[in-house]
């Protein structure tokens, strides 16, 4: 089996699906000759031509709304928004218009559209390029929000996203674009939505994360293992749909839980995770669930990322206090 980085896995999914389904079109800023600023679409323009791989004008609103129009026409658009923070420029088109066509038309129209967008720290991007705003999209019924953490999932979930008849915001971990290589099957396979992934099992505490934060949770779990603490690491994979059952099962088994994410604390998706667990598994909890997140400040310049983002130290410390409780 070949090994792939996240970006290679995404590229592989794109080319497979474009070859399999003629209705698939890829659009976005710089996705054509350049192959995308991160090269996710490299080679597609040469192979599928300018009618199916389209360099869009510089407007996220235009990208999302015309992708929506393409979907309404019967095509299957996969649009790239260069950075997740810039989905805000298309916010009403994505979180209302795309999300509600099915509902508003009683199923006559569906928005079978995928918006791919990288996010997250670690790459020391310029101002406004790393914002994690998944929670803001998760509060928009009709939209799915999926956040793969590894190459295998990136490929399988992107194929699921493109085939999903509903709009999917596919958030990609920028930090792992070039790294995190792992074996990824050639050819077609899908990873279903709404099924969390148990990355490792341990009986002392459950670390819940998604996207890049899963790797952080794993590293923290390694360190805690040296101290004799056995962690379960659960990768939610998709926020909408949320695998409530899998989450409850994983937390009930340890009685202790820590949620890790890159977005600011207040109204981040960690709040939903905590609220859900405490509603559904209150009596299994031996200690309060904690969140390790960014503080409620704007995303700072790169050299302040270490202060801003969750890191191993902060995750371990929080885990230790939960264990001490």
């Amino acid at each position: 089996m070949p090994t792939m980085s996240v970006i290679e896995a995404i590229r592989d999914a794109l080319q497979l699906e474009m070859a399999r389904d003629e209705r698939v079109v890829v659009l976005g800023q710089d996705v054509g000759a350049l192959g995308g600023v991160f090269r996710a679409s490299q080679g597609l323009f040469e192979r599928f031509g300018e009618r199916r791989v389209v360099d869009m004008p510089l407007s996220e609103g235009m990208i999302v709304s015309s992708a929506l129009g393409l979907a309404l026409s019967g095509l299957v658009p996969v649009a790239e928004v260069q950075f997740m923070g810039f989905t805000r420029q298309a916010f009403h088109q994505l979180t209302v218009q795309a999300a509600r066509y099915r509902f508003r038309s009683r199923g006559r129209f569906t928005a079978s559209l995928t918006i791919r967008s990288p996010f997250g720290g670690g790459a020391r991007m310029p101002d406004l390029h790393a914002d994690a705003i998944e929670a803001q999209h998760a509060n928009a019924p009709g939209l799915k929000v999926v956040m793969p953490a590894c190459p295998y999932d990136a490929k399988g979930m992107l194929l699921s996203a493109i085939r999903d008849p509903d709009p999917v915001l596919f958030c990609e971990p920028l930090r792992g674009y070039r790294g995190w290589r792992e074996e990824v099957p050639e050819g077609d396979y899908t990873v279903p939505f709404g099924q969390a992934r148990t990355v490792r099992e341990g009986s002392d505490i459950t670390l819940v994360a998604w996207s890049a934060a899963v790797h952080l949770a794993e590293r923290a779990a390694d360190r805690l293992a040296e101290e004799g603490v056995r962690c379960t690491v659960l990768d939610l994979r998709t926020l909408v749909p949320l695998d409530v059952e899998g989450l409850v099962r994983a937390v009930s088994a340890t009685g202790r839980c820590l949620v890790v994410h890159e977005a600011p604390l207040t109204a981040g998706f960690g709040a939903e995770v905590v609220a859900t667990i405490q509603e559904e598994a209150f009596y299994s909890l031996d200690a309060p669930i904690a969140r390790v997140a960014a503080p409620d400040t704007p995303y700072p310049p790169g050299t302040l990322e270490d202060t801003f983002l969750p890191n191993e130290e902060r995750v371990c410390r929080a885990a230790r206090s939960i264990l001490a409780a």
Partner: protein, 361 residues
């Protein structure tokens, strides 16, 4: 130095004269010929009279609390009907704002479905499979770039369909308008941006909306022509739209049309124009009723007399009653509708909540 600096794109103090075919007295203007057969013009009359009958009934129903907010078409019937009739409903699409009733009917939407829309029945947005239109759009201007994408997509699939998207002069201020025009230009999408300038966006007058003497002047900024047409002249609107449809169909790209008209009714049934309307402006436009103008034309060329209009009005009232009755027979919304068509494949959590809510109360 300023002599060196010529403004390559100067702004005139006033916009150009709108295209006109039919004079207010119902005569053709010098040198003009109608773009529609007499039978088509009679069909247009039917749609316009029906639209006005709906307006009247809907306002009445709303006063009795039997209808939600309703946006009357009155004054804009020629603008909507003339443009819609340039389309072939068997292949072309209409993308609505909300004030284009005759266009929906021309596309084939049953009138009863509109009553469902106005009473807030979920089936109101359910466009039958055979009807090529999107649901009414309440989020101003959101439909504009979607229409451009739709047109682009139809063309990519090798269809020779044309899309007409309707919106107001108010809508043209939203970023969505710009983005729709932009993508249509670069993809040469077969879409017609049909801007109904009815002089107000709720209470906001046209001049507060933009300093441009004409909104059609925006076309060239996106590589497409911009036309101004007398929106109370059925034949002018139809001719200009026909030309734009031909252009789009031929693969030559999109067109912007500013149809200058006037909203003779309130913005909707909860609005009171007395607070802001300019009575002189209103009086000037009141003299230009679009239905009367066509009637005068038909009196001249097709031997119409007063009885034809009355007959039509009678038929229209009956049709309105019929449609309203049919719509009401469907009954109100049922709680389970809330949980339908949210996703093809709803999340577990939503299904559980559905069970809880529909089981419980």
């Amino acid at each position: 130095m300023t002599s060196e600096v010529s403004a390559q794109f100067p702004v005139g103090a006033e916009g150009p004269n709108p295209v006109r075919v039919l004079a207010p007295d119902g005569a053709l203007v010098e040198g003009a010929a109608p773009s529609m057969e007499t039978s088509e013009i009679e069909e247009a009359m039917r749609l316009m009279v029906l639209s006005r009958a709906v307006d009247e009934r809907a306002v009445g129903l709303q006063r009795q609390g039997r209808l939600g907010a309703y946006s009357p078409v009155i004054g804009q019937e020629a603008s909507v009907t003339g443009s819609a009739m340039a389309l072939d409903p068997a292949r072309d699409w209409v993308v609505p704002q909300y004030r284009e009733l005759p266009a929906y009917l021309h596309q084939g939407l049953p009138l009863e479905r509109l009553f469902l829309q106005w009473t807030g029945h979920v089936e109101g947005g359910h466009i039958p499979d055979s009807v090529r239109m999107l649901p009414i759009q309440i989020s101003i201007a959101a439909q504009i770039p979607q229409a451009a994408g739709l047109a682009w997509g139809l063309r990519l699939q090798g269809l020779d369909a044309v899309v007409v998207v309707y919106f107001g002069e108010g809508a043209s201020s939203e970023g969505d308008f710009h983005e729709g025009m932009g993508i249509a230009g670069v993809t040469r999408a077969p879409v017609i941006f049909f801007l109904q300038n009815n002089q107000y966006a709720i209470s906001t007058p046209r001049h507060s909306q933009s300093a441009a003497p004409s909104l059609a002047a925006r076309g060239p900024g996106y590589g497409m022509p911009g036309h101004v047409v007398d929106g109370n002249d059925l034949l002018a609107v139809n001719a200009v739209t026909q030309a734009a449809v031909a252009r789009a169909r031929a693969g030559e790209g999109p067109t912007l049309i500013e149809s200058q008209t006037y909203r003779m009714g309130p913005h909707n049934t909860s609005d009171n124009p007395a607070r802001y309307e300019d009575p002189e402006l209103r009086a000037r436009w009141a003299a230009l009723d679009p239905i009367d103008r066509v009637e005068r034309y038909l009196v001249r060329v097709a031997g119409w007399d007063q009885s034809r209009r009355s007959e039509l009005e009678g038929w229209a009232r009956e049709e309105v009653e019929r449609a309203h009755r049919v719509a009401m027979e469907l009954g109100g919304n049922r709680p389970e509708y809330l949980f339908e068509h949210v996703y093809a494949d709803p999340p577990e959590r939503l299904l559980r909540e559905r069970g809880r809510r529909l089981g419980g109360d």
